[in-house]
């Protein structure tokens, strides 16, 4: 659980390549042995991809965002 907590705290930094190499290596290892954190990391990456897709898309107005 402590390892998962540490991993979760670093996943956002990992997305931006903002971690030192030893931390990146530790995260990579943890994601291999922890399916829950690996799923979270995939979801986080997927939501970042969705956000990137908004860059040139007109915003949905609040009344039509559903």
């Amino acid at each position: 659980m402590l390892d998962c907590r540490r991993a979760h705290e670093s996943l956002s930094d990992a997305l931006d390549g903002a971690l030192p190499w030893w931390r990146r290596a530790w995260i990579r290892l943890h994601l291999r042995v922890c399916p829950g954190c690996a799923r979270t990391e995939r979801s986080l990456r997927a939501s970042r991809d969705v956000l990137r897709g908004l860059r040139d898309a007109p915003p949905l107005r609040d009344d039509d965002a559903g």
Binding site: R5, H8, C34, R55, A57, D62
Partner: protein
């Protein structure tokens, strides 16, 4: 640097009306996502044009013009947040239970996929529920794809603060997508 003041402009190509007109939808989209009000977004974009035209007459190129103007607009938006005082800008108070939003993703059907249109709607809606600063951090780093230091400068926040804002905002969005039943495949 005071909030609202443009950073020094890159050197190169000229800002003209055509370049500005081309970038207007981008700035309007960014401003609307940040403040969620059409009238305010329009005013902020107008102020951005004036600040940009007053600041410098030369730019390095189209993508740099966009980044530069988004930076100016961001300072206008942060200034608007401060004026309307809906959030303490230096608030670094931890969430009541950090693990509540960080709980490991539950198992789902392995064939569940992100439907792009639905995922976009969920993300747009959830952006509106983030705090203003979380939203700005996500818009600058993930939507506009600025480097963290550029985003921090545009928002006038320290790197550690930006890191917290990104962490919170991204996990809220991630959780919203999961709650909607949208799960990234392996």
């Amino acid at each position: 640097m005071p909030v609202g003041a443009p950073a020094s402009a890159p050197q190169g190509a000229v800002i003209d009306d055509a370049a500005i007109r081309q970038i207007e939808p981008v700035l309007m989209g960014f401003a609307y996502r940040a403040v969620r009000r059409e009238d305010v977004a329009r005013d902020l974009v107008q102020e951005t044009y004036i600040a940009a035209l007053e600041a410098k007459a030369s730019f390095a190129g189209r993508s740099t013009l966009r980044t530069w103007m988004v930076g100016i607009l961001s300072r206008k938006i942060i200034d608007f947040y401060r004026r309307t005082r809906r959030e303490v800008l230096m608030d670094l108070t931890p969430e009541p239970d950090p693990l509540a939003t960080l709980a490991p993703t539950p198992e789902r059907a392995p064939d569940a996929r992100l439907d792009p249109a639905l995922a976009m709607r969920v993300v747009e809606r959830t952006l509106g529920t983030l705090t203003e600063l979380e939203r700005m951090a996500v818009l600058l780093v993930d939507v506009e794809q600025l480097e963290r230091d550029e985003a921090g400068n545009a928002m006038g926040v320290q790197p550690t603060h930006l890191r917290v804002l990104l962490h919170r905002g991204r996990h809220k969005l991630r959780k919203a997508l999961e709650d909607a039943g949208l799960q990234a495949s392996a």
